[in-house]
Symmetry: C2
Subunit: 244 residues, 2 copies
């Protein structure tokens, strides 16, 4: 059978999702837990290769197993006993053998949090970017919807990344502010490497009047990475949800 897990994690202590030689990763910890519970090596496939330091409240990952012997409803609790406290499985459900967590994803939602204040907030230092400079919030709110729709996002991906096409569709891109916390929520059919972090960086440039809201379209058309904003640090980013 093929089982899809939903999981949450704090990425602070990990070298990202994907297994690698020189860092402890979330995938590795999950595979260790599965091996311990099922007493056999079990490779998992993740939906999203979150970077080092990026968090998740709705990552998805699947694995095949002949006979799970544990009811699906109990599987999260059993796995959580073998996982560190910064990784939590929140759901397990059966999917078709042909299911791909990565390619069958219809919609992904990410959040980027900014602590906009003169001084850092020690309670948010792992999950929000500390930004102490003035920001024109109205300009940022005006700019955000310019990313919505089907566009070529070549200007908003990490240099050197190699996706076949750089066209992606965003369904929503909005900013809210509660006291000193600015939250960018981006929802789309798919994302290029570092795309959300570059959109967030571009909106920070808009807030600093380095880019005008109505220039977003021209930056997209240029396909020129150097015209967009900086790639903001990973720790403000959280993968919230994946819809299938």
């Amino acid at each position: 059978m093929h089982i899809l897990l939903t999981l949450s994690y704090e990425g602070t202590c990990y070298g990202g999702w994907q297994r690698q030689a020189n860092a402890v990763t979330v995938q590795e910890k999950l595979e260790e837990a599965l091996a311990r519970v099922f007493q056999t090596p079990i490779p998992v496939t993740g939906a999203s290769r979150t970077d080092a330091g990026v968090h998740a409240l709705g990552q998805a990952a699947s694995f095949h197993i002949e006979n799970a012997k544990i009811p699906l409803a109990k599987m999260p609790v059993v796995l959580n006993r073998c996982l560190p406290e910064d990784i939590v499985v929140t759901e397990a459900r059966q999917v078709a053998d042909s299911f791909s967590p990565r390619f069958d994803a219809k919609e992904k939602t990410y959040r980027y949090q900014i602590w906009h204040n003169r001084f850092p907030n020690p309670l948010l230092r792992r999950t929000a970017l500390f930004f102490p400079y003035p920001l024109d919030m109205d300009q940022m709110v005006e700019a955000a919807p310019h990313f919505v729709g089907r566009h070529d996002f070549a200007a908003f991906r990490a240099a050197g990344s190699s996706a076949k096409t750089t066209v992606r569709e965003l369904y929503a891109c909005g900013l809210t502010r509660t006291d000193s916390i600015i939250t960018l929520t981006v929802c789309g059919g798919g994302f290029l490497y570092n795309m959300v972090r570059i959109i967030a960086g571009t909106l920070l440039y808009v807030g600093q009047n380095k880019i005008q809201p109505d220039a977003i379209g021209a930056i997209m058309d240029s396909r020129d990475r150097t015209r967009a904003g900086k790639t903001v640090p990973p720790h403000g980013l959280t993968l919230l949800e994946i819809k299938y």
Copy 2:
């Protein structure tokens, strides 16, 4: 001159506010930073003796110094360079020599956060109590205002504590819910030892139908600690603000 600092901290790694022999405390870290900046030992007086694991976004502490030599406006930044990243000074202002951060406090506001979900949230594990059991939120919301006003809170203080009077006045006590996060906000003229954590524990009992909302008055009248709820763990508690 007498200087009042406002500070934020994550309490996870500290044995509380107050200096003690067997644990690293926030007071100790602040005094170390002051000693380093001003090159002389400087004792501080805190407004609230937060327990081990309790956080603050608005603690206050004062100290005397002959000649600070650093403008008040720059003092937070200078001190923060000598503080660990989980302690942040956010303001420094001059107060009268006779000022007492503890006894001159007019109003304190605390928040207690509960992550009410079947599974833990790794991003909130240091700042919210994980509570996976059913809760009747309507009953809890109905019960909270019963704590408001001038009452004898003897039933809501840690056994063995020795305040002269157990009468305190609460100005507000309310619950809000956003998705799985329940936030209790309590504002009052002063608090007995563990009072907020026992109020939170009592409201959890109300949510589990172990105590009825209209029984809160009778529990107060009884002055009997055993009739109130449990003292909930410290990590959900944050000292938000102190007004002078």
